[in-house]
Symmetry: C2
Subunit: 604 residues, 2 copies
């Protein structure tokens, strides 16, 4: 691969990453911070090259095959196509599992923003195979933050080496969005361990034979604890017990009850797991052996440390699927001849490539504005994660934390909604061909349909944004966001011309959001405040993306060439076709509409 | 089944059909017309009962199985699961294939609007199995309209009996949206027959062994004819030649080159067919034997007689999939307990059914407003077809023709876009379960994704509406639509109260559409006029559905009970959440935006 990556990739765009990382976010400046002092642009570039190479050579080639040959369960063992394990092993050997982790555990201490850029390649190439390392990373981060040193040694280090893999076990058949209703119980034993009994649903990568062991992180209730979320604790429950010398020992009583068969993400096993059903009796006793992580009853708060990161990663996955679909439909639109221009139709003239049709360009510009907007959002969130941890002053760190906290529901939900729509448009550009399994785009659409559901549905994100985040610290969450947007508005206004025009439109929208939010919170009735929280989420989401497009237009200002012209065109498109969608949404919110509240279920 | 149908069906809603047919469209009045004189409400009801029964007992049970076991081709024969053929045979025995056809050919002379209501049940139960009779009906209608009496005897009668099945062969690998580019050729022979050579792509039901024969209707060019669409002729090309006594004879040279593997609609074979490739030499000569239908070079206009009907049927299929998804998600929302209300959360209280959450009701109301709006549109179009053929005066027939012609792109595209969105919401309501193949909704979403593509893409419908239909006869198309809408506005204004409020909103939107259309047509540059034709299509589509919701609210006015309250709630929802979407779209159109025109393909 040439330095700077392949210009022709339909998996992802190195050119766009370079623009966003170096020309917009100036991530090289992060190397001035102690944590990143070992890095420079060269090491960043080398890792981006590596990610592209692994994505292209090891993750992409089995994309269709893993969809067509989903995992099977013969009652005893789960079977995956071998390419999945091979790719996961190659990825582990790159060391990227520990990319952002401390040097002390063998990590590369890479900025999150750069690691996210690397991971985008893998997700765009094969999101379903990347789920395995993705979960391993999340699991390890959680244990590094809250586990004991012994737990780190026993369960994290082997995950970073690629020997073990990880899961997150939250949902149960009767408790998905409502985690307070989990009934899995963990009974304490005299030796300090626990015995876990219950069923966990929707567990991705819950069973497979990719490595030596699977480390489950399980939410469960210790009998006698408080009701609801306050009684939830977190446990490590390994598939095989780990001996004191680190070797893999006895089988624990975690048993696959069945695989879920999904519309997409088919390379990832998705499981119903039984804990303590009695198939195995480790140590001669019933129950799956589990070890408490941190303090009792703090499980959900520990999990939320990671949940925010997981939500950002869901947005990143949605973005990556949207992005690769865009690139594929762009290539198709440039190559597929069909039809003639509206003016001067002559049936004897040769057909033109479909990109020459205005409506096809509309669908390409829409996709571009969605997927490049979403990538900017994801990388900006990664940068905020870095700032929250490593910015020089406490004030900057606090501001980054507040802004990230506020933006998280948008980072999760906006790409999940609009990059799915991008995939929809990518199919449409392919016409009948796009509806067949000969092209990737129908798979991306199916894969991406998961993202508005897992890690908190769209509705849950709306409640989180309007019900909690914008109200944080007496409204400081929204104020921080408005302040950040208005800073961009000021710069763009000063720049004049089209940038000032876009700034005017954005400034007015933000002002309206602040007004509408005050009105919603002024009702004093949470049912009314939150009745249209999803609509609020969508309006604020579009405004945030408009902001990031103005940021990109500013970064492209004065630069010549088709790449920068494309950034300007996409920004213009977003402000003309997309941002105006928020006006009727904000009007609806301002009217404190009660239609959904007042509709009796019996009328439906 | 009780008279009036099952109240609990999750396939389709007899209650809603009864409301729309009898309380709104007053279809019983049609029996005063000579063509329908043999009918009365009783015969209509009996056929609706029959359709529900066949749908429920013969089409629905193999829905999932036909998706999971798509047709296979062993190189010689195509294999379908046997339930498909069994259902198709049961349907043929009902006589509904000839439901709307003349008594002279054995038809029931049922009004199209009632037949469409019947067919909705079948499509909602299993759209993919219904494709076979659907194509047979379209094929027969075309031959009845344009074929010779001998062609009717040889190819139509056996289709109406269920012995033969039909197809439509338009597209080719290089000619989809642009039919002028087909290259299949038909060479005349001295006996008046033709020999056909070429490849046809995307042919639904192009190969199977359901009956004795397949009747292909094929667009091809006779050498020496005019270029472009003016040189297209229509041919009957049977899979097996038909002997003079009506029996099935020699194999014709129509050969399956391969099956397309699709995201959905998997029970329907979708094929690439080779005509005259040389595998067979019927009559000892190369080429597939074909028979000219009607006059040479008139093929596309004949096909368009039926294309309009086919486009309406695509909208009907999209509606049916949206509708059944709505009913299933409604049932799920009433039964699935999860979470608690925002006010007064108490973890010890039992969970509430998710329909109690405002956001879930929002998703249900959105679906209801889309699918019941689309059903009203489809039935209204069916009624216009009846009026165009059988209304008492020439003026009424002409008005119906003009209105139907104008509405056709909307009937095709609006349900394809918004009932797909309804299916998206149905999945969302099911949460993780909705993403699995254990529930129907993910299949409906996959099936429905076809509808914005086939029978003219969304983009093609936009060009048809703005480029041709609204401009028909110097603008009479749009004028007829505006007049019809304004008549409803007047009635609702006079009714006062909430109806008058909705009427005000609708009247203003229609006025704006008329203004914007004039502005678009005033540019004198077709590139600018048509640059945002898809946006125009969407804005006019939403306005038409708003109109039909006002019509439904008027039909429900003064009636008590949850059914009518539901109609009022859905109308209100559509006017508050949906119709306002048109404002920014119409603003964009009024600005004669050039973003898509001015974006150089090299920037993308």
């Amino acid at each position: 691969m040439p330095p700077g990556g392949s210009a022709e990739s339909v998996i992802f765009s190195r050119r766009d990453l370079d623009f966003l990382l170096y020309e917009w976010l100036d991530v090289t400046a992060l190397t001035a911070r102690e944590r990143f002092a070992e890095h420079d642009r060269e090491t960043f570039d080398a890792l981006l090259d590596l990610a592209e190479q692994v994505a292209t050579e090891h993750f992409y080639p089995h994309l269709r095959r893993s969809d067509l040959n989903e995992p099977t369960f013969d009652g005893e063992r789960v079977h995956l196509i071998p390419e999945i394990g091979a790719a996961v092993d190659v990825f582990a050997k790159t060391g990227l599992i520990a990319a952002t982790m401390d040097a002390e555990v063998g990590g590369a201490q890479l900025p999150v923003v750069v690691a996210d850029a690397c991971f985008s390649w893998l997700m765009a190439a094969n999101v379903s195979t990347f789920s395995y390392p993705f979960l391993t990373i999340g699991n390890s981060n959680l244990l590094l933050a809250h586990g004991s040193p012994e737990q780190v040694d026993a369960y994290v280090r082997p995950q970073l080496d690629g020997r073990f893999h990880g899961t997150m076990c939250l949902s149960e058949p009767q408790a998905g969005s409502s985690l307070s209703d989990i009934i899995t119980r963990a009974e304490p034993r005299p030796d300090g361990s626990y015995r876990v009994f219950g069923n966990k649903m929707w567990i991705s990568a819950g069973e497979h034979e990719l490595g030596e062991n699977i480390v489950h992180l399980v939410l469960a209730k210790i009998p006698g604890g408080p009701a609801g979320v306050k009684g939830i604790s977190l446990f490590v429950v390994p598939k095989f017990l780990v001996n004191t010398d680190g070797s893999v020992g006895e089988r624990n009583d975690v048993v696959l009850a069945g695989l879920n068969h999904k519309m997409g993400y088919r390379g990832t096993t998705n499981t119903l797991l039984n804990f303590g059903e009695g198939k195995y009796t480790p140590g001669g006793e019933p129950g799956a052996i589990g070890y408490l992580v941190g303090q009792p009853h703090q499980g959900l708060s520990y999990m939320f440390t990671m949940m925010n990161e997981a939500r950002i990663k869901v947005g990143a996955g949605a973005m990556a699927l949207g992005y690769t679909g865009y690139l594929k439909s762009l290539k198709y639109a440039k190559e597929r001849p069909q039809g003639r221009p509206p003016a001067g139709k002559d049936a004897r003239a040769p057909q033109i490539p479909i990109i020459e049709h205005a409506d096809v360009r509309r669908m390409l510009l829409a996709q571009k504005s969605y997927v490049e907007g979403a990538l900017a959002l994801v990388l900006y969130a990664g940068k905020l994660l870095d700032d929250e941890r490593t910015a020089p002053t406490a004030e900057e760190r606090d501001r980054a934390h507040l802004l990230l906290d506020t933006l998280t529901p948008i980072v999760k939900s906006w790409p999940s909604q609009w990059c799915l729509e991008a995939n929809n448009l990518a199919i449409q550009i392919h016409g009948g061909y796009g509806y067949t399994r000969e092209y990737d785009v129908e798979l991306h659409f199916r894969d991406n349909r998961l993202n508005p559901i897992h890690e908190g549905t769209h509705g849950i994100q709306g409640l989180d944004l309007l019900g909690r985040k914008v109200a944080l610290r007496g409204g400081a969450g929204l104020a921080a966001l408005a302040e950040a947007v208005n800073a961009t508005v000021s710069t763009a206004t000063a720049a004049g011309g089209e940038l000032a025009e876009l700034a005017g439109q954005l400034g007015a929208t933000v002002e309206r959001i602040v007004e509408v939010t005050a009105k919603l919170w002024g009702t004093g009735d949470p049912d009314v405040t939150l009745a249209n929280a999803s609509v609020y989420l969508e309006a604020v989401g579009h405004t945030v993306i408009a902001w990031l497009w103005l940021e990109q237009a500013l970064a492209a200002a004065g630069r010549q060439g088709p790449f920068y012209d494309g950034k300007r065109a996409a920004a213009r498109f977003f402000y003309r076709y997309e941002l105006p969608r928020t006006a009727p949404q904000l009007d609806l919110l301002a009217s404190l509409d009660r239609t959904t509240l007042d509709t009796d279920p019996a009328w439906l």
